[in-house]
């Protein structure tokens, strides 16, 4: 077994190697042949090959000089449009190297930008259109503002087909000399929800533990998510607020989870039929509703910890009604 992350090792290097996006690939290859591309907008579910396609396009356009001609940015990492502007400005100042007369700027998670920031981005795109092309990547194209959409050639990435994902996993397992069972592959498909990156990561983690069967897969998934969420909820429901809050802090500080991350996991835990919490159905609904309310408050508010603590306090109240009433 090789010892780098398999998602990278097996990331396609050529457009032709991309799975399940025939139409997208055909159009992109046309661009490569013409040595000219418009601005691009890649949309589709996570793990369907959007970033890979952007990179492959870059390899095929620029060949060995791709590093000199491609700038990769991630909208959720860059602090605001100012930084993006500055980096693009600096980058686009110099002339493209090689035969292709423009550089490529890949902007991942573009749908995470506010609409104000997108307006600014649109102006940036206009400004550097002579020397650079943008490839915007988004999960939800409807969150990209109209004026940007209309400036871009639009590519929709399809969800991957089960058989192709499994085929790919089997190929990787074989290359790496890993033993996988059918139910192991099924389980990976199940937990990865069509996301190829998650599927390969799961495969690798399971393989690290030995044979990849369904058990191993569920074990990996169980270990990969913090168990503190369920513990926190149980403590709060039992009325032990202080301990619950301590768990909350652990999750936020030690795991680096944001308030929204935590609420998502809380939601999952509450609604899961496999949850150890044994909450009656109507209380589940109440909790889900509460979680929705608190999440909204976090968006409006300033301090996630306070909002989540308020949530736990409400839980304690519900717990009392539930267990003592």
């Amino acid at each position: 077994m090789s010892e780098i992350l398999w998602t990278e090792k097996y990331r396609p290097r050529k457009l032709d190697e991309i799975i399940d996006q025939e139409e997208v690939v055909a159009r992109l290859k046309q661009f490569v042949r013409e040595r000219n591309i418009p601005h691009l907008l890649f949309a589709g579910p996570p793990g369907t090959g959007k970033t890979t396609a952007a990179l492959c396009l870059a390899y095929e356009l620029y060949g060995d000089r791709w590093r000199d001609n491609v700038l990769e940015l991630n909208a959720s990492d860059e602090r605001g449009i100012q930084t993006i502007r500055a980096r693009v400005k600096e980058y686009a100042r110099t002339v493209a190297l090689g035969e292709v007369p423009f550089k490529l700027i890949i902007l991942d998670e573009a749908d995470n930008m506010t609409s104000d920031a997108q307006q600014a981005l649109r102006r940036i795109m206009e400004l550097y259109t002579a020397t650079a092309r943008f490839c915007l990547i988004a999960n939800y194209p409807s969150k990209i503002i109209e004026p940007i959409q209309s400036r871009c050639a639009f590519f929709r990435f399809q969800p991957l087909k089960k058989e192709h994902v499994i085929e790919r996993l089997r190929y990787i397992a074989q290359q790496e000399g890993v033993e996988v069972t059918e139910d192991g592959l099924e389980a990976i498909w199940e937990v990865s929800e069509g996301d190829m990156r998650r599927a390969i990561n799961t495969l690798q983690a399971a393989a690290a533990l030995g044979r990849v069967d369904a058990d191993a897969v569920y074990r990996v998934v169980g270990r990969a998510k913090p168990k503190e969420v369920a513990e926190m909820l149980a403590l709060a429901l039992k009325g032990n607020f202080l301990e619950a809050r301590r768990k909350l802090r652990e999750l936020m500080i030690n795991y680096g989870l944001s308030g929204v991350d935590i609420i998502k996991q809380v939601h999952r835990e509450i609604m899961s039929p496999r949850s150890a919490l044994k909450i009656p159905e109507d209380v589940k609904v109440e909790l889900a509703d509460l979680a929705g309310e608190i999440e909204f408050r976090m968006v409006e508010g300033a301090d996630d910890e306070i909002q989540l603590s308020a949530f736990l306090a409400k839980l304690a109240l519900i717990g009392r009604r539930l267990y003592k009433g």
Binding site: M1, S2, E3, I4, L5, T7, E8, T51, L55, E72, N74, A75, S76, D77, D108, E109, R197, R198, N201, T202, Q204, A205, A208, L209, V220, R223, A224, K225, G239, F241, L242, R245, R249, I253, N254, G256, S258, D261, I294, R297, E300, G301, A302, D303, E305, I306, Q307, S309, A310, A313, K314, A316, L317, G319, R320
Partner: protein, 424 residues
Amino acid sequence: MSARASLRLPWVEKYRPRRLADMVGNASAIREIVAWLKSWEKGIPEKRALLIYGPPGVGKTTLVHVLAREFGYELIEMNASDLRRAEDIRRIARAADIGSLFGSRGRIIFFDEVDGMSGTEDRGGLAEIMEVIKETRIPIILAANDPWDPRFRPLRDLCKMVRMDRPRPSDIVKLLRRICLAEGIKADPAALRVIAENAEGDIRSAINDLEAIAEGRKVITVDDVRHLAKRNRQHDAFATLKMLFSARRCDQAKAILSQSLLDYDMLLQWIHENLPYQYKDPEELAKAYEALSKADMYFGRIVKTQNWGLLSYALEMMTAGVAMARKRPYRFVKYQFPQRILLMAKTKEVRRLREEICRRIASKCHVSRKCANAEVLPFLRVIFEGNPKMAAGIAKWLDLSEDMIRFIVGDRRKAKEIVKYMRK
């Protein structure tokens, strides 16, 4: 120094220590610093720079001046009142002749208040300081209150770090007594004790308080220090919380805002920390947290809209809202310092490690740091715990340090094993 001038000098200057023996507290830190400085006599030590850090008024700047005097160095100083751009740093370094093999002996460069370097005005200064440290053949000393800002991380790696702590009140009382003696003032020891306690280890503010009170007096009694304005935050917080939680009317609860020295952020944290201690009844607790949650929403809206007109609502929910949640009689509880702040300080290093790991994953795997944390790191943890050999490969590929590996597996022994594989 003329008699007239020295008479006018504030006591903090007049009684600033001239010799090592005059320094108050921090004996072991001082020993460590002296040892480092002496090691220069035997050649260039491993760490060419010393970073002294600690709270204000414990004597960092003073110590450096005393050392220079005591060991016969010429001190070349730069502080926050100077422009400290890259070119200014370079100019000083050149003036001090840091690279010379012989002629420079006998100089120290002292960069005071390093954490006061301005991001905009002093552009490039920090990077240049690090360059200077790498080249220097003479001792460089830096001082800061808070060296834990992430931007100082590379600097911390270059420096020997020594912490200076707040001296105990009894040490400060001794110093105050010495000053009173010199000024011919008769002071009640209890009064000096009050001053010392109030200063919370800040020697300079203790001397300032003493001087302000002693102005025109020859005798100081406990009565005279009664009006000493409190800088003391901790005690103030306890009193503030007691007032808040025992309030029976909204206006009483709101009154703490004008009487507390805590700023609003801090007060919010204190209240948040202590709600569950004060309110044991789930109903009271939930109600109080509901108010706090509302207060936080107003704070959020203020930040987003920059509309400060909403501040009064935020403050009201945080005070009156919390206080009116009480249905039972007030009872005394021992209030806690906001644990989250301690926790954040304690976990600074851990959080930095996590961030750095995510940064490396992000750049190798073409994902955002957030995605690296949520989607990749959990799998890495499973791999690192279960398969040291594969872990070693990945660690090498991601260029992870030993602390990072230890952070991921959460186990020293397993980390060692992975490192062993890496060396193979």
